[in-house]
């Protein structure tokens, strides 16, 4: 599965556009991480726990998007966009969407 965030797949010809596919996930870290993050808010610096959380979630969202694309017979997803929103304190929603296409 080829995933790009441009209109085309470089070096390949798109033969079929299959429309929108998307993947989402909502994840949270355990309370211990939340408390550590609260402490980090005093000293500053990277919140490793949350970085990890968002990375994992984004990967899963992408995974689900790819699964949708595969289910409708596509072999590439172009013009992929990510969006992140916090639906609840400590929980992050990751959303990935793009257009499933068939390249030759």
């Amino acid at each position: 599965m080829i995933v790009t965030n441009i209109e085309t797949v470089p070096g390949k010809q798109i033969v079929k556009h299959l429309g929108l596919v998307s993947g989402n996930t909502v994840r949270s870290k355990h309370a211990g991480r939340d408390i550590m993050a609260g402490l980090k808010n005093i000293f500053g610096g990277e919140l490793k726990g949350y970085t990890e959380l968002l990375t994992e979630s984004r990967e899963e969202a992408t995974e689900r998007m790819i699964e949708q694309a595969r289910a409708i017979g596509a072999n590439a997803v172009v013009n992929v966009r990510f969006s992140t929103s916090s639906v609840a304190a400590g929980a992050a929603e990751l959303f990935a969407y793009g257009t499933a296409v068939v390249v030759e």
Binding site: I14, V15, K16, H17, L18, G19, L20, V21, S22, G23, N24, T25, A31, R64, E67, Q68, A71, I72, G73
Partner: protein, 293 residues
């Protein structure tokens, strides 16, 4: 020229299929267990630490907190009662091998509350209401020995340590979740405290019986107070597991067993209470609140 179409995407890729109730049950069970264990561990630890606080420190702490303790009574008869109680406590204390630095201070309250309590710094409060319900000195000694046993085992300061630990634990949970959830969390967190106190009461009862045996040579009338309470309590007993004190029946039974295995002579002559101790034994039929604390 490429083709353009929108094939149908199968359902269920973006939604987890776990049943919400299963998720709910797992979470509630798991988190309850987690909090129980955490609070249990924390309060045990705090209790152990508090046990190592020197008794002088505890006394000093009690001095700063103990303003609510009854004053030395003004009436001569009350003073006489207080002195009598103090002597009784000292005798029992000697029988229980209290460490030398552990001194007992008995306070007398003329209130008709049916209660006696032990608190920080070796202070014991005995209420007239309690004395009026008791048939003999032995019965009073049993109640006081119970309180002295609490002090000997440092139960008041351990309870305080645990109390602080639990308050700390629960207030750190306060930042999480909204009203209903917090309430539930607090309820779960309180459970271990109740069971602790039960084992402490049983320990105090056992020690008090030993002290009785050593002081009087028998344990006659030891169950008098609990029998009195059991008689008075016509309404159904609250669930035994949720009350800090063992059920009265259970206690009476335990005392009987102890008496059977330890009393040598059948004739257990009890020492009567001095006449000045009774206020008006006939009139006091006040409903007993909770028994010993």
């Amino acid at each position: 020229m490429a083709e353009y179409e929108n094939p149908q995407i199968p359902e269920g890729i973006n939604v987890s299929t776990t049943h919400p109730l299963k998720d709910f049950a797992l979470l509630v069970g798991g988190i309850s267990a987690l909090i129980l264990v955490a609070v249990l561990a924390l309060s045990l630890l705090a209790g152990q630490l508090a046990r190592h606080v020197p008794f002088e420190q505890e006394r000093a702490l009690a001095g700063s907190l103990g303003r609510w303790l009854p004053e030395t009574p003004a009436q001569p008869v009350h003073r006489e009662r207080q002195q009598y109680l103090q002597q009784l406590a000292d005798r029992l204390g000697a029988a229980m091998d209290l460490p030398p630095e552990m001194t007992l201070t008995v306070h007398y309250s003329a209130s008709n509350t049916v209660n006696a309590l032990a608190t920080l710094g070796g202070h014991i409060v005995v209420f007239q209401g309690l004395i009026d319900t008791l048939p003999s000195e032995n019965a009073l000694a049993m109640v006081m020995a119970h309180e002295i046993a609490h002090i000997r085992h440092r139960h008041p300061i351990v309870a305080m340590g645990r109390g602080f630990a639990v308050i700390f634990a629960l207030s750190s949970l306060a930042g999480i979740g909204d009203g209903a959830m917090q309430q539930w969390l607090t309820g779960v967190g309180m459970l271990p405290i109740l069971s602790f106190s039960r084992s402490q009461e049983e320990q105090a009862d056992a020690d008090a019986l030993q002290a009785m045996l050593r002081t009087y040579g028998h344990v006659g009338d030891a169950a008098a107070f609990f029998e009195h309470i059991a008689r008075q309590q016509t309404s159904g007993e609250p669930l035994a597991i949720f009350s800090t004190h063992p059920g009265h029946e259970e206690r009476i039974e335990r005392i009987r067993q102890f008496a059977q295995s330890h009393d040598k002579q059948e004739a257990t002559a009890t020492t009567p209470l001095p006449g000045f101790m009774k206020e008006n034994a006939e009139k006091t039929k006040g409903t007993p609140k909770d028994s010993l604390s």
